[in-house]
């Protein structure tokens, strides 16, 4: 395998001067996404932090056209743009919907489900910071078990597991799905490039650390992302062939989830038994994923072990 930096294009489609917080995972994610997709792309953004990050009128941080839309409509507005461009002879343009977890797991799930079921020719990316950050850190159905948010205060932290959005999308039989994090840029970029060249609905789930929301220092977003993978909280995998073929892209070290939880203030209140509960949940989820990989490939030997980004 060639060095990782050879796989990250030098092309920069993101200007400096955006309005994100320091260490915002969603900002680094957009930078990588546009490196991979290039400028024959248009982006649709619903209400979320990214509404602000791109800049207030007339500023515009990314180097491709951006259409802002209402909170629950990213998938369907992207579908409409794609149809409009295609009927005008511009069907080769990549149309990317870029939404938060609230706009995806919650209020936007109906439009997303509709678009996925119709297999609209769009890339839908959820940058998942696991809460409604734009409005001040309220829980969403992507908020993980045990987490603090302003609507799940420490006395009553989130008491339900995170919704499994990848499985929901897999049930829609779409051609391509992947998870990605900013800690693995070459994996991230490979997936976006691959998605770009597939027709139909492509769904990419990006874990997106949020320093104020997760109560982490602004210089650990990449580290937290890597820990999410290495603890198997957020495995890197793809689902191809219309929901049939599962491929784990990287075999994590399997660090204890505590390593991931303890550096985030939003989990600080968790007692040992709650941490153990989360560990068991993560283990079960991982085992199921491993089984799916094995079912798809007949082996586990083809999963790369700690070769990426050494």
């Amino acid at each position: 395998m060639s060095f990782w930096y050879n796989q990250v294009p030098m092309e920069e489609n993101f200007n400096s001067g955006h309005l994100a917080c320091q260490g915002c995972g969603a900002t680094i994610a957009m930078r990588f996404a546009l490196k991979a997709l290039g400028t024959n792309t248009v982006v649709v953004i619903p209400a979320c932090c990214w509404t602000i990050i791109d800049g207030a009128f007339p500023a515009h941080a990314i180097k491709v056209p951006l259409f802002h839309t209402a909170f629950e409509t990213a998938a369907v507005v992207a579908s409409g743009i794609k149809s409009g461009l295609r009927i005008r002879g511009k069907g080769d343009v990549t149309v990317m919907a870029w939404a938060g977890d609230g706009g995806t797991f919650d209020i936007g799930i109906q439009a997303l489900s509709g678009a996925a079921e119709r297999n609209e020719d769009i890339i839908y990316v959820v940058y998942d910071n696991e809460a409604y950050m734009n409005t001040g850190i309220q829980r969403s159905s992507a908020t993980p078990y045990g987490a603090w948010t302003t609507t799940t205060p420490e006395k009553h932290p989130e008491d339900r597991p995170k919704k499994n959005i990848m499985e929901i999308l897999a049930a829609h039989s779409i051609p391509y799905q992947a998870t990605a994090t900013i800690a693995y840029p070459e994996d991230f970029i490979r997936k976006f490039k691959k998605a770009r060249d597939i027709r139909g609905t492509r769904f990419i789930h990006v874990l997106s650390p949020c320093p104020p929301g997760w109560k982490i220092p602004s210089d650990v977003s990449v580290k937290v992302s890597r820990l999410a993978v290495e603890t198997r909280v957020f495995p890197l995998y793809e689902i191809e062939d219309y929901g049939e073929k599962y491929t784990i892209n990287y075999w994590p070290k399997g660090l204890p989830v505590k390593e991931y939880l303890k550096i985030q203030g939003r989990f600080r209140h968790l007692t040992e038994d709650r941490i153990e509960y989360i560990q068991q949940f993560v283990d079960r989820q991982w085992e199921k994923l491993v089984l799916k990989h094995k079912l798809s490939h007949g082996t586990l030997d083809n999963i790369p072990k700690n070769v990426i980004y050494r």
Binding site: V42, F57, P65, V77, K82, S83, G84, L85, R86, I87
Partner: protein
């Protein structure tokens, strides 16, 4: 030139034909009675290749409006249709379409809101969208429905505001009438492909549309929308006349019927105006009394000046509302009152607001005749709602 053909069509299918003749490129809709047959015929036209368009079969009206917003932002000519519950579900995106200055055309088939469930006609659904920034045009016949889809694109694409064509459930939507269908070339001459969009979301146009507008810029956007609406008054008038020159059917901001010399004017909108006209014609013949009709077409922009001129110095005006703003009055009545406020006292006619026909209750010549007789007995405005036909 090939001659026009005549077909017997329902109001809904007249709309579909208007869409086809307008060479709409992207359609998105969700089924609801009584709108359904508009989009059924359109999906057939698209599937048969008679209309070169994409049809996005969405999972809700909210998404239908969002899809055509996307399509229109990407430079395509886009259409959707709905009724009542569907229109209400679109409400958020109606604001978005207008705010994004997209020349989308929507056909709304008037239907009463539930509960209680109703599928029958009432104008409250469209009138409740008054402040969304949409142009609204009310039609009376199937021919007018077809014509006004074409006209709607002509208007919308000049002022960059969306247009809602409004027709009544069943009395128009599902009733057959002979309708003239113009040759495609003739429509193409009147309505060329979409020209000069404000912006197009496509590579090369590296800007953001709809980004955060603080108090320092937001107000100017709204000012421009209002200016566009004001301009739309002239555009509706001019293009309505141009339409007449081109196709032989002229449309105005409103329509007068036996209006010129009328002392008593009945004002209404939509298909039941046909009943009003019919009754007035016979009433005049029998009594010789000067009763006339003013049928409202444009509700937004509300043509204040034209209406002030048309109603100045009449003896009495009766407004017939098949709608209600709860806690206020009939909606056309209150709009018209505010338009006539600027007339001097001696020129401003007393106005009487009748509410009738809600939830599709039949409006008969007998009802209209009784209203005329009732207006004649009234001098001063004593109540703002005169209920017609409410069972005790």
């Amino acid at each position: 030139m090939t001659t026009a053909m005549k077909k017997v069509l329902t109001g809904n299918n007249s709309v579909s034909w208007g869409v086809k003749l307008s060479r709409v490129q992207v359609i998105s809709a969700y089924p609801i009675t009584p709108q359904t047959t508009i989009v059924e015929l359109l999906s057939e036209m698209v599937a048969n290749g008679e209309l070169e368009a994409e049809f996005i079969k969405v999972e809700s009206e909210h998404s239908a409006m969002s899809a055509v917003i996307g399509a229109s932002a990407a430079g395509a000519r886009a259409f959707t249709a709905t009724s009542a519950q569907g229109l209400a579900l679109m409400h958020e995106m109606l604001h978005w379409a207008a705010g994004a200055r997209l020349p989308i055309v929507l056909a709304n088939v008037n239907r009463a809101f539930g509960p209680p469930w109703s599928i029958w006609t009432e104008q409250t659904d469209s009138l409740a969208q008054r402040d969304t920034g949409w142009i609204q045009i009310y039609v009376e016949s199937n021919q007018e429905a077809l014509d006004n889809v074409i006209l709607a694109y002509k208007i919308a694409e000049q002022v960059n505001l969306p247009v809602m064509i409004v027709l009544e459930a069943f009395v128009l939507s599902h009733t057959n009438e002979p309708v003239e269908i113009y040759p495609q070339e003739m429509v193409d001459e009147f309505l060329p492909p979409r020209e000069n969009p404000l912006y197009v979301v496509e590579p090369g146009n590296n800007y953001a549309v709809g980004s955060l507008g603080g108090p320092d810029v937001y107000m100017e956007w709204r000012y421009k929308m209002q200016k566009a609406m004001e301009r739309a008054v002239d555009v509706i008038k001019t293009e309505g006349e141009n339409f007449g020159d081109h196709f032989g059917r002229k449309y105005g901001l409103y329509e007068g019927y036996m209006l010129d010399d009328a002392d008593i004017v009945l004002v209404s909108a939509g298909a039941f105006t046909s009943t009003v006209k019919y009754t007035v014609k016979h009433y005049r013949k029998e009594t010789g009394e000067k009763v006339g009709v003013l049928r409202l077409r444009a509700f937004r922009p509300f043509p204040h000046d034209a209406l002030r001129e048309a109603l100045c110095c009449r003896k009495k005006v009766a407004v017939l509302d098949r709608n209600i703003s709860f806690g206020h009055h009939g909606i056309f009545y209150s709009e018209l009152k505010s338009a006539l406020y600027r007339l001097k006292d001696d020129k401003r006619p007393p106005m009487f607001g009748y509410i009738l026909g809600l939830g599709g209750r039949d409006i008969t010549p007998k009802d209209i005749r009784e209203i005329i007789e009732d207006v004649k007995t009234r001098e001063e405005i004593e109540e703002d709602i005169i209920w017609k036909g409410v069972k005790p």
